[in-house]
Symmetry: C2
Subunit: 386 residues, 2 copies
């Protein structure tokens, strides 16, 4: 199997981007990625687009808005979707496009415009990533799902509200250093703990933001990657797991089994173990999700995720720095963009280009972890610099 390398990265600023439409956000990211790769759009052979929601983009085929605005026709392009993990489906599909030989230079774009409708409408659309028949009609939305997970984790492992708050404090700390982040402000643990309840025990600062944004990467075959870029970042492991539609059908609320499966696939494919990972971005849609991810990815033993953040082992200088771009929590979570933005961040880290005091020293192996829904999909990717 030939290697597939990342030769260009770009992203828009995340935030409430009333200045830019879906297509304009995608353009910002693509322009950055092509400039970074030092190539023109003419040299790109195919494109994969991630936009998670038809409804938020008011379109049946949102990828066509992006193809059109970039004048990318008549070349191959289509959309992939896995709810909040859609961006990772695009990275996976871009990898397959190159590895299968269908195209040797592929643009992967993820974008979402979420602030054009009300927060209630977004909550409704996202809620329908869960079970539309047996859970959503009874009032379940995403804060509720993750509140159940948090309560179960607290009951089983003694995880505390303070530990949840510490995840927010860390991610806001690093987000404040990231010029692309939605909310660039430090918070204190007291502020996190005294914020209003969203779905008990989750408070405002336990929840990620609703953001607009886009991210893009350029992938190339091993042969071309080395021609365009002396030092590409290789995607060496791809894992994708799925789980039941209903949370009530899960084996154990304190684990996302799809993540355990995806991680196993990715580690095996890359030939590494969790302790080999130098830097990770994980799906912290809610603070509890980051704690569960530590455990499911094998960064610590099951049940010790709370302790891991309490001991600051996921800060830079700790065992394994996690979400030093601010995470979904502070950088923002434009759902179709997130998985691609994760690849952008890990590439920056492995290149040593994460400026503003948030670079992990000597990072050679990176990991991204992206959950769709409340665990119906989970993707884990491993990245490596030679």
């Amino acid at each position: 199997m030939d290697k597939v390398g990342i030769i260009g990265i770009g992203q828009s600023r995340f935030g409430q981007r009333s200045d830019a439409s879906l297509r304009e956000l995608a353009f910002e990211a693509v322009k950055g990625a092509l400039t970074d790769a030092g190539i023109t759009l003419d040299e790109v052979k195919a494109m994969v687009v991630s936009v998670a929601s038809d409804e938020l983009s008011f379109a049946l085929q949102p990828s066509s808005q992006i193809v059109d605005y970039l004048n990318f026709y008549p070349k191959p392009s289509f959309r992939v979707e896995g709810a909040c993990a859609s961006g990772s489906m695009a990275v996976r599909t871009g990898w397959m496009t190159v590895a299968s030989g269908l195209a040797d230079v592929v643009l992967v774009v993820g974008a979402e415009k979420m602030t054009e409708v009300s927060t209630a409408a977004v909550t409704d659309v996202l809620g329908r990533a869960g079970d539309f028949i047996w859970e959503y009609p009874f009032g379940m939305t995403f804060p509720g799902y993750y509140a159940l997970i948090a309560r179960a984790h607290m009951a089983k492992y003694g995880t505390t509200e303070e530990q949840l708050g510490m995840v927010a404090v860390k991610n806001h700390h690093y987000g404040a250093l990231n010029p692309y982040a939605h909310m660039r402000k430090e918070i204190t643990l007291e502020k996190a703990l005294s914020s209003r309840t969203v779905a008990d025990p989750l408070k405002l600062y336990d929840c990620c933001l609703i953001s607009d944004g886009a991210a893009a990467i350029v992938l190339a075959s091993e042969k071309l990657a080395k021609r365009f870029n002396n030092d590409p970042v290789w995607i060496t492991g791809l894992g994708l797991g799925t789980d039941t539609l209903s949370l009530m059908d899960r084996r154990d609320l304190t684990t996302i089994d799809a993540t355990v499966e995806a991680a196993q696939q990715a580690y095996t494919m890359a030939g590494i173990e969790p302790r080999d990972v130098d830097v990770a971005v994980v799906h912290d849609c809610f603070t509890i999700a980051e704690i569960v991810a530590y455990e499911d990815l094998g960064f610590c033993k099951k049940g010790e995720g709370g302790k891991m953040i309490e001991e600051k082992r996921t800060y830079i200088g700790g065992d394994i720095p996690v979400n030093v771009d601010g995470g979904l929590k502070s950088k923002g979570h434009p759902i179709g963009a997130t998985g691609v933005a994760m690849a952008v961040e890990i590439t920056k880290q492995l290149r040593g280009e994460a400026d503003h005091g948030r670079q992990v020293p000597n990072a050679r192996i990176g990991l991204s972890h992206n959950v769709g829904g409340n665990g119906q999909h989970s993707a884990v990717h491993i990245f490596r610099r030679d």
Copy 2:
């Protein structure tokens, strides 16, 4: 590049399937495909799902409904979308999954449930496959788009309303022979021409049906395909083109440039020419679309599509039999299922299993052509039996 073979096919009956939900339709198709392949779901390593619309499935990640109902977790699965060509995006992605080495047995499922909402609501959802900013708000829906294409073709090439009606007569003739078709009735040219106007010059019998349905195929690597099936059908060519979002930006209304591009890619990859194709299924969402497809696929010269149907050259016994399963026109067009159902039909034809008097004799090379929107996407696939 290793070959990728189809080792199993299945589909649900298309129609107004008030007896079955989206997941149940998918189950019918998958059960058929696995039985046909002689394997169990345990032997399948990954799945690709095509559902075109979030809104029609009331879900943000409709593929999870299908994963869940099949108990397919924790294995890899996600959704792909290219509007009415979504099914062909799934076939393409399934092919890439095998060819890239990520999995050696892959299930490709396409499904759509369209009759649970009103016809007006479906027309609205489909209309938003076009340009949401510059065309849809001014009242454009799909019959309108294709009416403009028909008028332009009539003006430029002298194509007649009678010739449009003859496409409907042919496809209803073959659809009547297909036990999986939505509308199994022959019609006369008089009946077609006297049916009520939908969008002038298109009449009721120029328009395809709104249907529920699902289709599935099992793909395998060359090595495994031959172990499971002595005589698999190989996918030897894959083409995918795109075009402008707005119809008004097109170079020429009488051609779908995305189809010309996709056909060129597919013929080159398969190493064949249009005259080598023994049997084809093309995207006849409206009768004019089939006539334009004859030309864009190179089955006849530009402008001679009307003559081609008038001379019955696309009936069995003619130059190249087209849509002898009834086409979208009579078999039905559950949009996420269509591209996969096309692969099912071509496989049947190449195996010599298209019963009920609609088998094309000695067919060895088949072609499928699937358009998304009004030409924003177009996919052409070439199939071959050794």
